[in-house]
């Protein structure tokens, strides 16, 4: 009915977070020695936003296709029938929230893998420089 509304709402929040983080990381690049890792979290939050916004956009198309979303107010056809509002809200809370949680979990795994790869690469560089210097 309108399950994509929940991930779209989360996408709004994560986009705001990304904007704040981007400002902080840009400031840190100018000030300190963190130039190597600068933009790391902006990029990672970008993955999350792309999945949230992209998924919501494609799901919105599916809902338009099935006549559940229309381009005129109230936009959601379930809102036109009072009896459908309850089931619609129930679907947003159950299916929509589950969708957002699964995307967040997938993003968490991606960030975890990226962090492990980055640490291993860093350790490899340090080992090479120690051996090279000896």
């Amino acid at each position: 009915m309108a399950c994509f509304v929940a991930p779209a709402a989360v996408a709004v929040v994560t986009t705001v977070i990304q904007t704040v983080v981007k400002k902080k990381e840009t400031a840190a690049t100018v000030e300190g020695p963190t130039k190597v890792t600068s933009g790391k979290w902006t990029r990672r939050l970008g993955w999350l936003n792309t999945m949230m916004w992209g998924g919501s956009a494609l799901l919105c198309l599916e809902h338009i296709w099935h006549g559940e979303v229309v381009p005129w107010p109230p936009f959601l056809t379930a809102m036109q029938t009072p009896g459908d509002v309850g089931p619609m809200l129930h679907e947003i809370v159950t299916v929509g929230v589950a969708m957002a949680v699964v995307i967040l979990a997938a993003w968490g795994i991606m960030v975890g893998v990226a962090e492990i790869v980055e640490r291993r690469a860093k350790a490899g560089v340090e080992r090479t420089s120690v051996h090279g210097g000896a």
Binding site: G54, S56, A57, L58, L59, V95
Partner: protein, 98 residues
Amino acid sequence: MWLLVTALAAMVATALWYVNLPSDKYKLGFLSLIYWGATLMWLVDHVMAYIRDGGPFIEVTADGTALALAVLALGLFVWLVRLLLGDPSRITRALLRK
């Protein structure tokens, strides 16, 4: 049907992104993330509907196939807009200057 087609598109886009690493000049990572986002969301939707209502997990219908193609086209359209705006090969800029 659209779940299956979107999952396939996500896998193809991811493979293309991986083949082109470490360069992501053509933003294939962006395209694959769009499709993965939609795939995961539809997977949740299908699993929850299957648990609730039962019935076939994936239905192959003409309408579903048409929707799957429309979904693919929208994903590609979003990616193309981003690619042309970013203009990594500076082709658009050069054409506009002529």
